[in-house]
Symmetry: C2
Subunit: 200 residues, 2 copies
Amino acid sequence: MIYIMKIYMAPRNRTTPYAVLGMLHIRPMSGYDIRKEAETSLGYFWSESYGQLYPALRDLAAAGLIRRRAGGRTGTRERQVYEITASGREALALWRTQPPRPTPVRSELLLKLFFGNRASTGPELNWIDDVLATETAALRDFRRIRSELRLQGDHPSLPFWLITLGYGEHRSRAVIRWCRESRKALRAMVRGAGRKATRR
Amino acid sequence: MIYIMKIYMAPRNRTTPYAVLGMLHIRPMSGYDIRKEAETSLGYFWSESYGQLYPALRDLAAAGLIRRRAGGRTGTRERQVYEITASGREALALWRTQPPRPTPVRSELLLKLFFGNRASTGPELNWIDDVLATETAALRDFRRIRSELRLQGDHPSLPFWLITLGYGEHRSRAVIRWCRESRKALRAMVRGAGRKATRR
DNA sequence: CATGATATATATCATCCAGATATCTGTCCA
DNA sequence: TGGACAGATATCTGGATGATATATATCATG
């Protein structure tokens, strides 16, 4: 029997280099800057870890997609600033046309809630209060970012920035609604359990 | 100078074994069943890959937290069904009291949108239409699940299942709203570019 | 009834990725 | 003067994904 071996060279995710390329497309940055950016403005939909970042910068520079240059000492120590090259822009543009791959979800909070039991309610309410606080703060940030973007005039990426920002806003509002709803449900459940306990 | 070495034995995430334990707490299952469950009913907030699943089952069985037994041939091939043990239940209960760790977000869709440019709009509308279709289908599923849960009477975990389900519903509705809004924005942008192009 | 597509089922391996850790310098402030 | 802290670069371990391999049984289809 004849069979065909599919060799297709494992098209792994490998998104980190493109994320880096995209960040450097906006403006030249150091590794530290990229991380900062991912923590603050992109944090609600993208995260980068050092363990991926620095190797990616090295590899991209070796491939000629970015260029390393001394960035002067803005503060304390010699900065290594990277800027995107023409071929880097090409690679980014090509990647941008490929459909995005869905990233798996893993919410430990929801998993722990899912395994919850009426008989042994514990710190669930606190967890939900924490989420509520986080998302409320996020919503404040989004409002600030939105007004900053409005003032900034029209960058060619502005419509897309507003779209991603909109995602964050919709998401946060939904989570806040869920928190309030779930708090009610949890409190009702605890009261129910209490009543049963006293009636006994 | 005297300094203290923090050795704290890398409290890595290691959530897979507990996810498995939790699933087996609900009912005895095979590895395949767990994966199926994660793909369908838990899919909107939790995912498991085979690469973690089978080693976790082996390790948990070796540690005595679960027990392996022959599950008869339900269909095609000998099934290896696992059930949770008393010490497994204890481990699960302990883990459940620990606060959940936040899991990093990485949405390739939003990243690609963020790097978008007014000058070169491409397949973004299609991506958003895909999301819209997915979330609409998810919402239908949630409705079905909700009515199934209502019929099922009162399992001690029911209130928690409704809470996680509520999360999925709120989230899907928010994403759907975002899709509609973003489609409008994208179409307006393309029209704007078109007008500029014809005016030239 | 051969053929192939598909579902059930278990398992491994190559990468990819997160987070902990290490190290160093300058600034602020008590 | 000394410590806390922020800016900065980097590495390593171990956890997680997804592709792949291997089998068997079922079911539609010509």
